[in-house]
Symmetry: C2
Subunit: 328 residues, 2 copies
């Protein structure tokens, strides 16, 4: 049993700063999977990687890059936060399958097949109809399997997600979402899909983005933790983790951009509404990355033992990285 | 009645050279719509535009750019060939709706919503399932309508094509394909779709690419011309034209690239086969751009009068440009 906690948040998109990095350390976050793309093309994504490389170079006492599970264990030993790069869209690979290997070499370990809209690979959860994974998508999945770039279906539509599991030789993940049986929303996932993902060795990271929570901003830590307890009964405890979807210190212009990118000339409010268009207010118990340890308190209260909380708070993700970040 | 012919070929993708440009003049081709993109992204397409701008600058006696119907009439008077830029894919606009206006300003007048595969706008004719025009696609169609960039569904799947007609306030075209009732193929079009396109003011340009022809390379000029005569009976004579799809002097590596782009690591043979993977051999009566006048001979033989042949050989396209190349 580890003496100090090994915490992993498998999805954040904060307004990165020294303040945030120091809070990660304060929270004992060994690893954070950070989103480095929503709509960006290849070249723009390279700029985002350059920015992150600079953060890591400038704060060697706080940060390091995580390319594999060993890097996470090193970060744990050295009291640093290991940063995993991930894409919420496939826009960086444009129409070029060769860019999958290029990005893996640059440190990218997760890629969503689509972000809300139809992509070149798969359908997003906001489209009316979902025909499933495309011709390019089938080949991209094979290539992602080969190099060790994990398939994420958090914003992907249902049939495309099932297709991804079928075509993929390796487990896939839902990095940040909750079950629809707890809170119905376009972004939350069906019981059948979570069952299929987790029973095939994949992971679900529970989200604390208010639109994914029962009672939104007013969701209690107890309600959230009880949902995880029910999930453990349904899917077992070994394939559950956290993907908080925290967007700390982001201005509302950022959520507008997430929803509309550069593809829309009309205003799309996504999970929000015209009257409530900005970022929703986080629940009291998870306002910032330094609140991460509160989740441990919640899990304990609903009856998880130490081994179980360690798994959900980080070890399950670490185990998943061990198996899935390297080439076949 | 015009004294000399006004010929328009509304789709070619040849290996452009002085030889080809001189043949265009030899054939009295007043206008050729040239493909400047299959898979290219924004930046790569800009390079293709630069190459074409150079061709036009270097051969002012042979070529000029066509931005509208007046330019075509000028080219006719000055014995030049007016070049219209067009995309066979929406890859150049990437995820940015603002690039539609940018490309229109640079001279682009046709854009296919998809090329064989699923695109961000619509489904291609090689995908298994066609859910129709996407969320981005609906907005892109509106923007194309606004600026006067014509929607082309030549390589788009059936439901997406019907959706395009439904969402578009302006006529759309099938720049290069033939009816499936004459020769069944993935790229040829259903009677219902051609009916819907033409009865809404749109155009079909008949293709002379062997895979779209009855009996392929051995298709006779009579068979091709008879198909056009039947089309005139079914759809009227005012919405028919030529879009030959001629790929003169192209090496086989080009058709391999058209089919596989940079998205595929497996070999896709498209309309060809492993044993016959290259460009198919053109029929005797249409091997090069200077063979264009042969079509007039064929049309006359199957009974079209002078007014009708003038329309099909060019004036219908000119009329379409007049209405559809300018902003709303």
């Amino acid at each position: 049993m580890l003496k100090k906690p090994l915490f992993i948040d498998n999805l954040q998109y904060s307004n990165w700063s020294l303040e945030v990095f120091e809070q990660m350390r304060e929270a004992n976050l060994t690893t954070v999977h950070v989103t480095i793309c929503y709509h960006e093309n290849f070249r723009q994504t390279i700029e985002n990687i350059i920015s992150w490389n600079k953060f890591i170079e400038l704060h060697p006492d706080l940060l390091m890059l995580a390319r594999n599970a060993d890097d996470v264990r090193n970060a744990y030993k050295k009291n640093k936060t290991a940063i995993i790069f991930g894409f919420q869209n496939c826009s960086p690979i444009e129409e070029n399958i060769g860019l999958i290997e290029v990005f893996h070499k640059l440190g990218v370990r997760f890629m969503q097949l689509s972000y809300n809209n139809q992509s070149l690979l798969a359908t997003g959860c906001y489209e009316e109809t979902d025909p499933g994974v495309t011709r390019f998508g089938k080949q991209a999945i094979k290539e992602m399997n080969r190099v060790g770039l994990v398939i994420d279906v958090s914003h992907t539509a249902e049939k495309s997600s099932f297709d991804a599991i079928r075509y993929s030789d390796r487990p896939i993940v839902i990095s940040h979402a909750n079950p629809n049986w707890w809170h119905e929303s376009k972004r939350n996932k069906s019981d059948a899909l979570i069952q299929e993902v987790t029973s095939n060795g994949g992971m679900i990271g529970f989200s604390i983005y208010p639109h994914h929570l029962k009672n939104g901003t007013n969701c209690t830590l107890e309600s959230f933790s009880t949902m995880i307890a029910h999930s453990a009964e349904k899917y077992g405890v070994n394939n559950l983790g956290i993907g908080s979807d925290l967007c700390q210190n982001q201005p509302d212009s950022v959520v507008e951009w997430m929803r509309n990118g550069t593809w829309s000339k009309e205003m799309d409010y996504g999970e929000g509404t015209k009257d409530s268009a900005g970022f929703p207010i986080q629940p009291e118990w998870f306002k910032k990355t330094s609140d991460f340890p509160n989740l441990l308190v919640g899990l304990k209260k609903v009856g998880f033992n130490r081994e179980e909380t360690s798994k959900i708070m980080g070890l399950n993700w670490l185990n998943f990285y061990e198996e899935n970040f390297h080439a076949l």
